[in-house]
């Protein structure tokens, strides 16, 4: 008989996510993804000045502040048909890239690596042998015996204290953990180093955005950065040079450490290329605009249905007509009033909490649909959509990943193997390498444009008095983000944010179709159902961030328990 397991909340994610699975013969036979917090921040935007919206949306989530700020100004600019000066596009692009690099590094090392890496095996490793192994994998200069020994000592110190501290929640010694002590040490050493490089990426955001965690330099129509080549306080040669130095270090870490570690984990757990696929409809929007009108982009978008890469459809712009028309949100299984799916411009956010019920309503996340179908968003969607359209930069790093995995583990993955838990990790590493290369490109574009004598950073918006609608999108670290605004009489009449984790964590819709998290868990084998590490591996591969998917706090203030078997 099927047994129900509740994992509430999923540890090592941002915010509150609950997963329920039914287990039959040690495999998942049914799944429910739900968010335990209320959503409703959008309502407070109504009646406010559209030029202020980004300040508020930046507070939707404390982790992805900049992405909501950016999507918001873009929504107003779309509604006003406003062009953005080149300098502003490049500065924004650099902020978005630096934020994404930070986010991807945090995700792999701090939020998901310990699903694959057994920290408690680290004390058994031989640092000299680990260093030798590392040399065979990467030219990274910080894999010396001394550096590895220092990392090992950190684990020894935590273990000796008798309290596992930050490692108290792992499934250490689980039969699904299979790396050698040396590989575990190498990965752990990079886990520690990753903290330094995340910080460097954040510094870039801070220099361009004036402050972190909440940037101050955005404005509808451009940016508020003063450009002056000779100044040390404005954006000038000094700051551009500092950004260049920081980016170089982050780029090297991404290409020589993060990318290699993901390939190594993939090579050592090849069965996970066959697990965790689920929804094979993919969606991504173009991003990193290269001109002031937003007609050319460095990153492609589009959609794929049912895993058919050959049938990929591209989007021409970040607010493509097809995208504008095709999005709706369904609340049949979410704690909101309403029956019919609504387009975001018509969207409502009226709560109707009924308590968790597997057959009825069970989540605070709405179910976004594209032409009525669930879509998977995130780096995997971004990479598959780029690859299918022959995008050279995507192909370059995707092919490199396939070669690297083959070289380490003798396993040759195909693009089709990317429809999987490991595929999501691999795609994120591929995307990070692409972004790393583009970071340097956009810094050069900005430097060259300023050198030409163009100091323009903003076109001043004029608010129309008649009603206008706009959509601002950003292909964020976790996938497609869209902010939908209706402006009337110079005020916000309606505002809806359809965020990446809403697409992926969506509950079932009126047709009963599972959301991507739910579908990806079906058929997952569990070695020990009472320690559902495998469920965590797949859920974490999406990089869940429920803070903006549901926006709020846990009203119950309940203590957290993990893996309760009913």
């Amino acid at each position: 008989m099927a047994k129900r397991i509740t994992i509430d909340p999923i540890t090592r994610i941002e915010g509150h996510l609950r997963i329920d699975v039914e287990v039959d013969n040690n495999a998942v036979s049914n799944a429910w993804a739900s968010c335990t917090m209320w959503r409703g921040i959008e309502k407070i935007l109504r009646g406010r000045d559209p030029r202020d919206a980004w300040l508020f949306t930046q507070r939707f989530c404390g982790v992805c502040t900049t992405v909501h700020a950016m999507a918001s100004v873009r929504s107003v600019e779309d509604a006003l048909k406003l062009e953005i000066p080149l300098n502003a596009q490049y500065i924004r692009n650099l902020i978005l890239i630096a934020h994404a690099l930070h986010d991807h590094i945090v995700h792999f090392y701090q939020l998901s690596a310990l699903d694959w890496v057994d920290v408690m095996q680290v004390p058994k490793a031989d640092p000299a042998a680990t260093s030798k192994l590392a040399e065979s994998l990467s030219p990274w200069t910080r894999n010396s015996r001394n550096e590895l020994k220092a990392a090992q000592d950190r684990v020894n110190a935590v273990a000796a204290s008798g309290q596992l501290g930050i490692f108290a929640n792992g499934y250490w010694g689980h039969p699904a953990m299979r790396l050698s002590p040396e590989v575990n040490l190498l990965a752990f050493s990079h886990y520690v180093q990753a903290l330094e490089y995340q910080r460097k990426a954040l510094q870039v955001v801070g220099i361009l955005g004036s402050k972190t965690p909440h940037i101050q330099n955005l404005t509808v129509g451009g940016v508020a950065n003063a450009i002056d080549l000779d100044s040390t306080s404005a954006l000038g040669m000094d700051k551009l040079e500092l950004i260049r130095t920081l980016l170089e270090q982050v780029v090297t870490f991404v290409q020589q450490v993060y990318f290699v570690d993901v390939c190594a984990v993939a090579a050592m757990y090849p069965e996970w290329f066959k697990i965790g696929s689920g929804v094979r409809n993919y969606l991504a929007v173009p991003d990193l605009p290269l001109d002031s009108r937003g007609s050319e982009y460095d990153l492609p978008g589009g959609y794929i249905r049912d895993g058919d890469l050959g049938g990929v459809k591209g989007f021409r712009t970040a607010a493509d007509e097809v995208f504008r028309k095709s999005v709706s949100e369904d609340v049949v299984h979410a704690y909101y009033q309403g029956e019919k799916p609504l387009h975001p411009w018509k969207g409502e956010t009226e709560p109707a909490f009924t308590g968790w019920d597997a057959d009825k309503k069970y989540s605070w996340v709405k179910a976004p649909r594209f032409n009525g179908e669930p879509m998977q968003v995130g780096p995997l969607a971004q990479v598959l959509i780029g690859y299918a359209q022959g995008h050279p930069l995507t192909r370059k790093y995707a092919d490199m990943a396939i070669e690297k995995v083959a070289a380490i583990g003798g396993v040759r993955a195909t693009p089709a193997a990317l429809h999987s838990t490991l595929g999501r990790h691999a795609a994120r590493a591929i995307r990070a390498c692409m972004l790393a290369e583009l970071a340097q490109k956009h810094l050069q574009l900005l430097t060259d444009n300023i050198a030409k004598g163009d100091y323009t950073v903003r076109n001043v918006p004029v608010m129309p008095t008649h009603e206008v609608e706009g959509v601002g999108t950003h292909e964020a670290p976790r996938g497609t983000l869209s902010h939908w605004i209706v402006i009337e009489d110079q005020k916000i009449k309606n505002y809806q944010a359809v965020v990446p984790s809403t697409w992926n964590a969506s509950p079932r819709d009126h047709a009963g179709a599972h959301g991507p998290y739910e579908a990806s868990l079906l058929h997952t084998p569990l070695a020990r159902p009472e320690e559902p590490l495998e469920v965590l591996r797949t859920v974490h591969s999406f990089d869940p961030c429920m803070a903006c998917a549901c926006h709020a706090f846990d009203p119950s203030g309940r203590k957290i328990g993990v893996a309760k078997i009913l």
Binding site: E14, G40, D52, R59, V63, R154, I166, Q198, F553
Partner: protein
């Protein structure tokens, strides 16, 4: 130089949850501080809090907390109180992962020597609401707790003769006058 950070934690869009940033912005408006003291509205930083705290001599955070005490009660916590909370559990409603970040800083050998969490028991966390009366009345007491800690640690501050207007930008304002024109 031994540095101290006074950080306001919480979501300014969710009623009493915004009391941390509110207190920090009031402090900024009313007092001037030496260069070793920095103030920041941290929002809800989750794991990124680690980057804000490594290498500090002292950390003072202001945040709303869930507690059985009546709304507006100011509760002080020290590092050992916070570390007693295991990472997956949370001291407060919106998960800033405080204990996890302190443990990470400890592992790096760069954890602040002195930690004070000024917790304010909230009552209303509804979107778009101003601070509740009880919480508003606790702001002065929270400021006092912060200044006492600065004094204890030997950090200087001075009351401004002419205080600035506090930057509570999320409070209601007339349409047509955007915050940053």
């Amino acid at each position: 130089m031994k540095r101290v950070l006074i950080g306001g934690v919480g979501n300014v869009l969710l009623g009493d949850d915004g009391v941390g940033p509110y207190v920090v912005r009031m402090l900024e408006a009313l007092y001037s501080f030496g260069e070793a003291v920095s103030l920041a509205d941290l929002g809800t930083p989750a794991l990124d809090l680690t980057h804000q705290i490594v290498g500090l001599h002292a950390l003072i955070l202001v945040d709303s907390v869930a507690s059985d005490d009546p709304p507006g009660t100011v509760v002080l916590y020290r590092k050992e109180d916070i570390l007693r909370v295991m990472p997956a559990e949370r001291l407060d409603p919106h998960s800033p992962a405080l204990s996890e970040c302190l443990m990470t800083a400890d592992m790096l050998g760069a954890s602040p020597e002195h930690v004070l969490l000024v917790g304010i028991v909230g009552s209303c966390y509804d979107p778009g609401q101003p601070l509740s009366k009880a919480v508003r009345q606790s702001v002065a007491k929270s400021i006092e707790a912060i200044l006492t800690e600065l004094e204890r640690l030997g950090f200087g501050f001075e009351k401004k003769m002419l205080p600035n207007e506090p930057e509570i930008w999320w409070a209601d304002r007339p349409v047509g006058e955007p915050v940053l024109a």
